[in-house]
């Protein structure tokens, strides 16, 4: 049984993509795909999630920490 919740949460936050791909601008044709508008809605939904915001915080702190470790050079 998994009891190390902190480890699981940390690994989970590492897997969340911080910068979701911006959807392309929708074309005006009747036969154009409606997938872009769906993607945009999903991105907005993802950004509003608390887990996403936490992943962003963690990523920022980690980048700063690694930057201090590497004498001021920030790494991703």
């Amino acid at each position: 049984m998994e009891t190390n919740y902190a480890k699981s949460m940390y690994k989970l936050m590492e897997q969340i993509e911080i910068d979701p791909v911006e959807p392309k601008t929708k074309k005006g044709g009747l036969l154009s795909s409606s997938r872009n508008s769906v993607n945009k809605g999903m991105n907005q939904e993802l950004i509003n999630q608390p887990a996403y915001r936490i992943a962003k915080y963690v990523n920022t702190i980690r980048n700063k920490r690694l930057g201090f470790k590497n004498n001021g050079r920030e790494t991703t």
């Binding site: 902190a6 480890k7 949460m9 940390y10 980690r62 201090f68």
Partner: protein, 180 residues
């Protein structure tokens, strides 16, 4: 035959209901209902010098950061500062903040995030002996008694005896054994 005894140390039925609903802090609305508020609370508290010094001491003892973060957030839940789900979400931020504190203090710490079994981890006795030896070297105490050396040698001998030698594989002798 041993006679069966009743278990008296187990919780009795209804023991969790000995207080009225809402009497416990975690049964009240949380003090920090959002993740942002909880993160602000913890980061400002951890950046306090006194707290950071104590944290560095604990990290130096080899306690994993995951365990520390879990303890901190659980205490927050028990004090009614935030809910359990907010506490779980805050965990990675706590770990990262502790890493920042550990790195800035220049200590080696155990994150608790490694997957592989920690077989090569020094035993507590060995680390204590090495610490003692370092302190003795610093104080330039007369090394004639050789207590630390003896202890280190004993620990080394114990770890060497624990290594299991690989025995040669015996060839199967049965009727169904594979022939080369």
């Amino acid at each position: 035959m041993e006679e069966k005894q009743p278990k008296l140390d187990a919780p009795i039925p209804g023991m969790s209901l000995t207080h009225e609903l809402g009497a416990r802090p975690w049964q009240q609305p949380p003090q920090y209902p959002t993740v942002e508020a909880a993160v602000d609370h913890y980061t400002s508290r951890m950046m306090n010098d006194e707290f950071a010094d104590q944290l560095v001491d604990v990290m130096d003892m080899g306690i994993p950061l995951t365990t520390l973060a879990n303890t901190i957030q659980l205490a927050g839940v028990m004090e009614g500062k935030h809910t359990t789900d907010v506490g779980l979400l805050v965990l990675p931020v706590l770990i990262e903040t502790m890493m920042v504190i550990g790195d800035s203090a220049g200590i080696e710490y155990d994150t608790g995030l490694e997957d592989e079994p920690r077989t090569n981890r020094d035993s507590l006795a060995k680390r204590t002996v090495e610490k003692l030896r370092n302190e003795m070297d610093k104080k330039s105490v007369d090394p004639e008694d050789g207590m630390a050396d003896t202890l280190v040698e004993e620990v080394k001998m114990e770890s060497a005896s624990e290594e299991v030698e690989e025995s040669p594989q015996e060839e199967p002798m049965g009727l169904m054994a594979r022939r080369n």
